[in-house]
């Protein structure tokens, strides 16, 4: 569906996206995860064709985005971080406006309204001005406006940023609904729990993809094991571990501590002996499946360490 090749974009001296090549397959949710400033928005804008890359190209269904912007735009929906709703227009007027911009006739839009209202639950607010909607409702209206023309590809830039948890869950339900209709979705997010819901995830950092794959692949593909320990002296144990370069990236998880080790048995042995030296007794030691968040933090830290070396 999407094929990016050597995509590069610089703003002044800073490189927002550097030499990215990747594919997005038809009918999948592709998540772009990363901290603020990683270049997620720039990447989405490059795909949407509203920003011109310095180097490289994007093709959607074999059509070059930069050379045929209008051909692409008909079948694409891009929802920026702050969707540009017209706040002085009502919910319904916004939907009609965007529908007609995509060349959908008013009659056709009217027939699609029930569906749009069904998933967005905006029907009771159809007369309300968009500016008077809550944050979550605005995002859903934005999505509704994006979907009037039934695009085959949707690009969402942090759609749930600043949206309450309930609305977030609803939003993802909508996305899965679209997925079942064969729509391809590219979504950027800073929430790792959302990334976990994607078919494939790319971890973006400093303008590049650090790792790409399904959430499972990423978690297993690190070649490291996550050990979780519990002890009565959590504070002491944590500060003792932090001082050791090997375990310095210890993760606090409630009353438990988690560390990544290269090899399970050797790691556990060194961990035990270190804590023993500090007089800290362990209550339990388990192997754990890392969350995506655990893995990403480890991957990025590892990358920075290697860069520094």
């Amino acid at each position: 569906m999407i094929r990016a090749e050597n995509l590069t974009k610089r703003f002044g001296g800073a490189t927002a996206v550097s030499g990215l090549s990747f594919d997005v397959h038809e009918g999948e949710i592709f998540g772009i995860v990363g901290p603020d400033g990683a270049g997620k928005s720039t990447l989405l804008r490059l795909i949407a064709g509203i920003l011109v890359p310095d180097v490289g190209s994007v093709e959607i269904n074999g059509v070059n985005v930069q050379r045929n912007p209008y051909l692409i735009k008909e079948n694409l929906a891009y929802m920026p971080q702050r969707f540009g709703l017209y706040e002085d227009l009502s919910v319904e007027e916004n939907i009609f406006f965007f529908g007609r911009l995509f060349g959908v006739s008013s009659r056709e839009i009217r027939s699609r309204l029930p569906r749009l209202y069904e998933f967005s639950r905006l029907a009771p607010f159809r007369e309300r001005l968009a500016g008077k909607l809550s944050g979550g409702m605005k995002q859903k209206l934005g999505l509704a406006c994006c979907l009037v023309h039934r695009p085959g590809l949707i690009l969402l830039d942090e759609p749930t940023n600043g949206v309450d948890p309930v609305s977030r869950r609803e939003f993802w339900k909508i996305l899965y609904g679209l997925l079942s209709e064969g729509v391809t979705i590219v979504v950027s997010t800073a929430y790792l729990d959302e990334a976990e819901r994607c078919n494939r995830v790319a971890l973006m950092y400093n303008g590049g993809f650090v790792v790409t794959g399904s959430p499972g692949e990423i978690k297993n593909g690190m070649g490291k094991t996550l050990i979780e320990i519990t002890t009565d002296k959590v504070w002491e144990a944590e500060s003792a571990l932090r001082k050791e370069p090997e375990f310095s990236r210890v993760i606090r998880e409630g009353t438990a501590l988690r560390v990544f080790v290269e090899r399970r048995l050797e790691g556990e042995r060194r961990l035990r002996s270190l804590l023993k030296k500090h007089g800290i007794a362990l209550r339990s030691v388990h192997e754990k499946t890392p969350t995506l968040e655990n893995s990403f933090v480890e991957i990025i830290a590892e990358g920075e360490k290697n860069e520094g070396a």
Binding site: I50, L51, P80, G84, D88, F97
Partner: protein, 383 residues
């Protein structure tokens, strides 16, 4: 099919813009009420007619002849005899308090000297601090005195037996199109043009920058809308407002200031539309270039108000300007519309006689529309 979709998109933009204008009190006031206010305000303030100039008379002679002379000054609407005074001190006070702008002093022995066949002097004192009014008022006084002299000469000649005398050269002047030489007849058409150009550029200058500021532009440019569709879609509602303002301002000129409309109103309307296409597109260019509302407004006022006020021939006659500046005036569309409105309203000429002006306006509109489409880039800025 393609053209149809294009039309649908232009319609969508125009419809949306219309809704936004209707719901925005600020732009409604600016576009519908401000023009009328400006016309009324400037129409009353900007007059160079000197009328009802206050004057005082100091008659030291108190004779039949002096009374007959001073009587002449009360028969004109240009001067008004406010006081009969009896001393210079009083005159001083009246001039200082600006109650009067000039005073006439008839010296003692005025009639006696006249009857003795000697020439007599009158004293005219003028407040020169307002030099325009002073010069004009002095002209009035001199004209009245010349008439008075003439009357006396003729009756004198009659008395000694010469019945009919002829002046060597007599001027019979007739002023066409504005017989009373009312300044409002040329000020109001100029004013209409200035107000139209400011308002049309001003309201249009907000439109694209507002989209950038509110973040709606980023969404708009991901839709299949083309630059020309966006420009045309935005042009349509603002042209309607502009045309409404034409009606309002011309009507006010007619009803309040009695500026006649001798020619065809429809022709005037069509040509004003041509003018508005240019100025409104100019506003759109400014808007696309600045991307910020505050800046757009300032630029829009700068590029419309100053040129159409100073370089259009509205206030300052173009033939008195240095050659370089005269050349620049050809680039000011207001100049052409002023000629057109004066031609149609005052002279009643048809569009056929105004084709040079129409051509210039058309060229201006064409260039500006093309430029506004080109200036409107549908990609994000590089910073």
């Amino acid at each position: 099919m393609k053209a149809l979709k294009s039309l649908v998109r232009i319609g969508a933009i125009a419809g949306k813009e219309w809704l936004q204008i209707r719901r925005d009190t600020r732009s409604l006031i600016l576009s519908l009420i401000a023009p009328a206010l400006l016309i009324l305000l400037f129409g009353y303030a900007l007059t160079v007619d000197v009328k009802n100039v206050g004057m005082a008379v100091y008659d030291q002679d108190r004779s039949t002849l002096s009374r007959r002379l001073l009587e002449e000054f009360s028969h004109t609407e240009y001067l008004r005899v406010k006081r009969h005074i009896s001393g210079y001190r009083e005159m001083d006070r009246l001039i200082d308090s600006e109650e009067i702008a000039l005073a006439i002093v008839v010296p003692r022995g005025f009639e006696r000297r006249f009857k003795a066949g000697k020439s007599v002097d009158l004293q005219l004192i003028v407040d020169g601090s307002d030099s325009t009014s002073a010069t004009v008022a002095m002209g009035y006084v001199k004209a009245i005195l010349a008439n008075f002299n003439m009357d006396i000469k003729v009756s004198e000649l009659k008395r000694i037996g010469i019945a009919e005398t002829k002046m060597p050269v007599e001027v019979k002047s007739r002023v066409w199109y504005n017989p009373e030489l009312l300044s409002k007849n040329f000020i109001v058409p100029g004013l209409i043009v200035v107000v139209l150009s400011i308002i049309s550029a001003l309201i249009a200058s907000l439109t694209i920058s507002r989209e950038w500021e509110r973040g709606t532009m980023e969404t708009l440019i991901t839709t299949p809308v083309r630059a020309f569709e966006l420009v045309f879609g935005k042009l349509v509602p603002y042209l309607f407002i502009g045309l409404f303002d034409v009606v309002i301002t011309v009507l006010l000129g007619y009803l309040v200031f009695n500026v006649p409309i001798k020619g065809s109103f429809v022709e005037l309307y069509m040509l004003a539309l041509l003018f508005l296409i240019g100025t409104t597109s100019l506003g759109i260019i400014i808007s696309s270039a600045t991307r910020a509302q505050v800046l757009s407004v300032q630029v829009a006022i700068m590029v419309t108000y100053l040129p159409s006020f100073m370089l259009s021939g509205f206030v300052f006659p173009i033939q008195n300007m240095p050659l370089v500046v005269q050349g620049i005036t050809y680039l000011i569309p207001a100049k052409y519309l002023i000629v057109i409105i004066k031609g149609i309203a005052l002279k009643g000429v048809g569009a056929a006689l105004l084709w040079t002006q129409i051509l210039f306006l058309a060229v201006f509109a064409f260039i500006v529309v093309i430029a506004s489409v080109r200036k409107l880039s549908l990609t994000l800025p590089e910073n």
